[in-house]
């Protein structure tokens, strides 16, 4: 059963959200979903960029003014 994990990166500036995402994703199984909550616009660029380069499925959702959720499905 695939699980969904929330990673709270609110108030964190680059490169902290990216490093936290890398570490969190390592602990997940294939098929699991990681939801990274961010409010730093640079992280909205570099977190999805990194995850797509790694080959995972990525979606970005703008949840509020200056707040995003990067939804990453681990594929390998």
């Amino acid at each position: 059963m695939a699980k969904e994990v929330i990673l709270d990166c609110m108030g964190e500036a680059c490169p902290v959200p990216l490093i936290k995402t890398e570490n969190a994703l390592k602990k997940l199984e294939i098929g699991d979903v990681l939801v990274v909550q961010i409010d730093h616009s640079c992280a909205m660029k570099n977190v999805p960029e990194w995850a797509r380069k790694e080959g995972h499925n990525v979606e970005i959702e703008e949840v509020d003014d200056g707040e995003w959720e990067v939804i990453i499905e681990k594929t390998k």
Binding site: E12, P15, V16, I19, D65, G66
Partner: protein, 177 residues
């Protein structure tokens, strides 16, 4: 029609511009800066002037300080904030950044997450400010403007900026993750 779905709104204000667009614009405005002020673009230098003005406003004097001892530095300080192109430009950067965030409706007051963040921000700010002044330039004045002026010093700065960033990242991962 919903302005958020308008393609011109999205292209100009909502979506991040590409690195190439940014690079071309920075180069063009560097030329404009050189042509209008006779100085290359710098950011941290005017901040030292702001500090001097604040220090003067509370009754201090920087006249004997080595950093401000040159005639040029004294003339800039006496002319005041409104006659210092660098100060006005720094103000423009802050106002422009605010305008861009508001237009993209991405403005947000961010919460301070931990006391570690305060310590890191203060330590980082002090180190960057001190380094920028002792090195006569930050990543704009020394790196960008240095390289744009075909000066070797800009490339030397870039090399050591890289080593500094490596060390800084190691500290960050070790103490702030």
């Amino acid at each position: 029609m919903d302005i958020k779905k308008n393609k011109y709104y999205q292209a100009w204000f909502k979506n991040a511009w590409t690195y190439v667009t940014g690079a071309v614009l920075l180069s063009l405005f560097q030329i404009v800066t050189m042509a209008t002020t006779n100085d290359p673009w710098g950011v941290s230098g005017p901040f030292a002037n702001w500090g001097a003005w604040i220090f003067r406003a509370i009754g201090g004097s920087v006249d004997k300080w080595n950093y401000f001892s040159s005639q040029g530095a004294q003339a800039t300080l006496s002319a005041g904030f409104l006659n210092d192109p660098g100060s006005i430009r720094n103000l423009g950067i802050i106002v422009g950044a605010l305008f861009a965030t508001l237009m993209a409706s991405q403005f947000k007051f961010k919460k301070i997450k931990s006391s570690k963040q305060i310590v890191a921000a203060m330590a980082g700010g002090l180190l960057m400010g001190y380094g920028a002044r002792i090195g006569f330039g930050c990543n704009i004045g020394a790196l960008f403007s240095g390289i744009a002026s075909l000066s070797v010093s800009g490339w030397v700065f870039a090399l050591f900026l890289f080593f500094g960033a490596v060390v800084g990242s190691k500290f960050l991962v070790k103490y702030f993750m």
